[in-house]
C-alpha cells in the first residue's frame, strides 16, 4: 500500500467516525431522556399526555395544558408571521434589486435573528403586555396582559427571519430562463410571480415555514416571560398559559422529588417527539411538492 491509499483510508475512516458521532448524539439524548422519564411514564402512562391537571403538591402530572399551549402559541405565531416573512421575501427577491432599502431590510431581518430571546422577553413585558392590557380592557375581557396571544406575537416576530430568508433564497433560485419564458408569453410581473415563481419555489417556502415552526415550538425564554405561566388547560388565547419549554424552564429548579423531575423530563421528551413528528410530516409534504426533473430542467441550474 502506498501513502495515498493509506491517507485516503484514514480520511474516509475519520469522516465515517464523525458521522457516527453525530448519529449517536440524538439517540443518546433520546435514550437518557427516556431513562429519566421512566418513573413518570410508569406512574401515569398515557394519562400523562391527556391529563389536564399539573399539580406538584398532589403529585399529579398531566401534560395536556402544555402540549396545547405549545401548539397554540406556535401556530398562531406562524399565522401572524407568514404574511410578513412571505412579503419581505417576495419584495427582496423580485422587486428590489440591491439598493439601500433592500440592504437595510436584509440587515434588519438578519438582526431580528440575532437578538437574544431574553431581550424579546423584556420588550414584550415592557411594551407589548401593557398594550394588550389596554386592548383587553376595551374589549371588556379580564386584562391579564400576559397571555398566550402575547407570547404568540413575540414568537411571530422572532421567527420571521427563518421563513423569510429561506423563501427569499428559493425564490431567487428560480431559473431566469423559466421566468423569461413566462414574460415572452406576455405575462406581467405579478402573473409571472403568481404562476411561475411561487409554484416553482413552493416546497422551499414550505421548508422555511417548517424551520420557523421548529424554532417556535422550542423557544423558551421569551415565551416564559410573557405567557403568564399558568398551568391550566385553556383555548382562550387572551388567558395566561404555559408551554412545554417554559414550564420546564420555570419549574426545573423547584423539582424536589423524583416523580416531579421525571415528569418535567418526560415533557421534554414529548416536546422532542412533537418536533420530530412535525418535521417528519413537513418533509413528506415538501417531497410531494418538490420538482424533480430527469435531465434537470430545474435541478441542474
Amino acid at each position: 500500500m502506498n501513502n495515498e491509499v493509506i491517507i485516503d483510508k484514514i480520511f474516509k475512516g475519520s469522516l465515517r467516525a464523525v458521522g457516527l458521532v453525530l448519529l449517536g448524539i440524538p439517540l443518546l439524548l433520546l435514550g437518557v431522556m427516556f431513562f429519566y422519564s421512566l418513573p413518570s411514564i410508569k406512574a401515569f402512562g398515557f394519562r400523562f399526555i391527556v391529563g389536564q391537571t399539573w399539580d406538584p403538591v398532589k403529585g399529579m402530572y398531566g401534560g395536556l395544558p402544555f402540549l396545547v399551549g405549545t401548539l397554540l402559541t406556535s401556530l398562531i405565531a406562524l399565522v401572524i408571521s407568514f404574511p410578513f416573512s412571505f412579503s419581505t421575501a417576495l419584495l427582496l427577491s423580485e422587486y428590489l434589486e440591491g439598493g439601500i432599502l433592500a440592504n437595510m431590510l436584509k440587515s434588519a431581518i438578519e438582526l431580528l435573528a440575532g437578538i437574544p430571546s431574553v431581550i424579546y422577553g423584556f420588550w414584550g413585558l415592557i411594551v407589548l403586555v401593557p398594550l394588550l392590557r389596554k386592548l383587553e380592557m376595551t374589549m371588556g375581557i379580564p386584562p391579564y396582559g400576559v397571555s398566550i396571544f402575547g407570547a404568540s406575537i413575540i414568537l411571530s416576530i422572532m421567527i420571521i427571519p427563518y421563513a423569510s430568508t429561506m423563501s427569499r433564497e428559493v425564490m431567487r433560485l428560480v431559473p431566469g430562463d423559466i421566468k423569461e419564458a413566462a414574460y415572452s408569453l406576455g405575462g406581467t410581473h405579478w402573473e409571472v410571480i403568481k404562476r411561475v415563481v411561487i409554484p416553482t419555489s413552493r416546497s422551499g417556502i414550505f421548508a422555511g415555514i417548517l424551520l420557523a415552526l421548529g424554532r417556535a415550538l422550542g423557544e423558551t425564554m421569551a415565551v416564559t416571560m410573557i405567557i403568564g405561566n399558568k398551568n391550566q388547560l385553556t383555548f382562550n388565547v387572551f388567558e395566561p398559559g404555559n408551554t412545554m419549554a417554559s414550564v420546564i424552564a420555570n419549574e426545573f429548579t423547584e423539582a424536589s422529588d423524583t416523580l416531579y423531575l421525571s415528569s418535567l423530563i418526560e415533557l421534554g421528551l414529548l416536546l422532542f417527539v412533537v418536533t420530530a413528528i412535525i418535521n417528519f410530516l413537513g418533509r413528506k409534504i415538501i417531497e410531494r411538492y418538490e420538482i424533480k426533473g430527469d435531465d434537470g430542467a430545474l435541478l441542474n441550474e
Partner: protein, 269 residues
C-alpha cells in the same frame, strides 16, 4: 385585436419582385448601458418565410431578436433606438405585453415550466394572462398546437405528465407548441437546436419548414448548414452590424462581402 393590416411593399436585395413584408427593422440599435451591441440595422422580414440570422459568437444575434419582442428592455441596462415595424406599426409604441403575444419566442435551452403538466405548458400563455376559456376550446388549442409542433402523437396519452419528464428534443417542441398556442404572427427562435442531438435537431428543422405556412419565422443559428437547410433568406451579422442580407441560396453561393465569405468558409469558427 384586429387592426387594419398594412403590407409594405419593399424591394429586397437585388430581386426585382415585390414582397410581403411583415416586420421591418429601421435603423435599429441596441445597447447594454453605454455599449452599443447592435448597430443601426435595417432589415425587412418576409411574411411566411424563414429568415435566419447568423454570425460569430457575441456578434449580437440574441440581443437583436430580443429587441423584436421587447425582451431586451428587461435586461439590466438594455435599451434600443430605432423602429421595429410590425405590419407597419412600431412595436415600441405598443403595449409590451401585447407585442409578446404577437411575437413568440423559443429559447436556446428548452425551458418548459417545471410545475406544469404538458397540457398546462401548452396553454401557459393563457394561464399567465389570466384568460379562461371553455375546456373544449382549450383541448382544441392544445391538440392543434402540439400537432403543429409535431409532438401530439408522442404525448397525446400523457398530457397530464410534467413537461420536464420529456426528452430534450421533445421539451423544445413543447416550447414551440407553447409559443404557437398564442397564435403569434412571428416566431423568434434563438438557436433552438444547439442543446439537442442530431436526430432531435433534424426533427425541429423539418418542423420549422412546415411551420412557415402559418407563421413567419426568424431563426438565430450558429450552424451554417442549418441556415442553408431551413431558411429562405439569410442575414449575416458581424460585430453588431448587418453585413449582408440576401436570399439564402444567393448568399451561400455568391456572397457579396468578404466577411461573409470568410465566415462561410469557417474563418471565424
Amino acid at each position: 385585436m384586429k387592426e387594419s393590416v398594412l403590407f409594405e411593399r419593399v424591394i429586397l436585395g437585388s430581386t426585382e419582385e415585390a414582397k410581403d413584408i411583415i416586420l421591418q427593422l429601421v435603423n435599429l440599435s441596441a445597447y447594454f448601458c453605454e455599449s452599443r451591441i447592435v448597430k443601426n440595422i435595417n432589415l425587412a422580414i418576409e411574411k411566411n418565410k424563414v429568415t435566419s440570422i447568423m454570425g460569430p459568437s457575441g456578434c449580437g444575434k440574441t440581443t437583436l431578436i430580443r429587441c423584436i419582442n421587447r425582451m431586451h428592455e428587461m435586461s439590466p441596462g438594455g435599451t434600443t433606438k430605432g423602429e421595429i415595424l410590425l405590419y407597419g406599426k412600431d412595436i415600441n409604441n405598443m403595449n409590451a405585453i401585447e407585442v409578446r403575444k404577437k411575437i413568440g419566442m423559443v429559447f436556446q435551452r428548452p425551458n418548459p415550466f417545471p410545475t406544469m403538466t404538458i397540457y398546462e405548458n401548452v396553454i401557459a400563455g393563457f394561464i399567465l394572462n389570466g384568460i379562461r376559456l371553455p375546456k373544449n376550446i382549450m383541448d382544441e388549442i392544445v391538440e392543434d398546437s402540439l400537432s403543429k409542433a409535431a409532438l401530439w402523437d408522442e404525448v397525446k396519452h400523457n398530457l397530464g405528465k410534467r413537461g420536464i419528464y420529456l426528452s430534450g428534443g421533445q421539451q423544445q417542441r413543447l416550447c414551440i407548441a407553447r409559443a404557437l398556442a398564442m397564435k403569434p404572427d412571428v416566431l423568434l427562435l434563438d438557436e433552438p437546436t444547439s442543446a439537442l442531438d442530431p436526430k432531435a435537431t433534424a426533427k425541429i428543422e423539418e418542423l420549422i419548414v412546415q411551420l412557415k405556412e402559418s407563421v413567419t419565422i426568424l431563426i438565430v443559428t450558429h450552424n451554417i448548414a442549418q441556415a442553408a437547410r431551413v431558411s429562405d433568406n439569410t442575414a449575416f451579422l458581424y460585430l453588431g452590424e448587418l453585413v449582408e442580407y440576401e436570399p439564402t441560396k444567393k448568399l451561400f453561393t455568391i456572397p457579396r462581402d468578404k466577411r461573409t465569405e470568410e465566415y462561410l468558409t469557417g474563418k471565424y469558427g
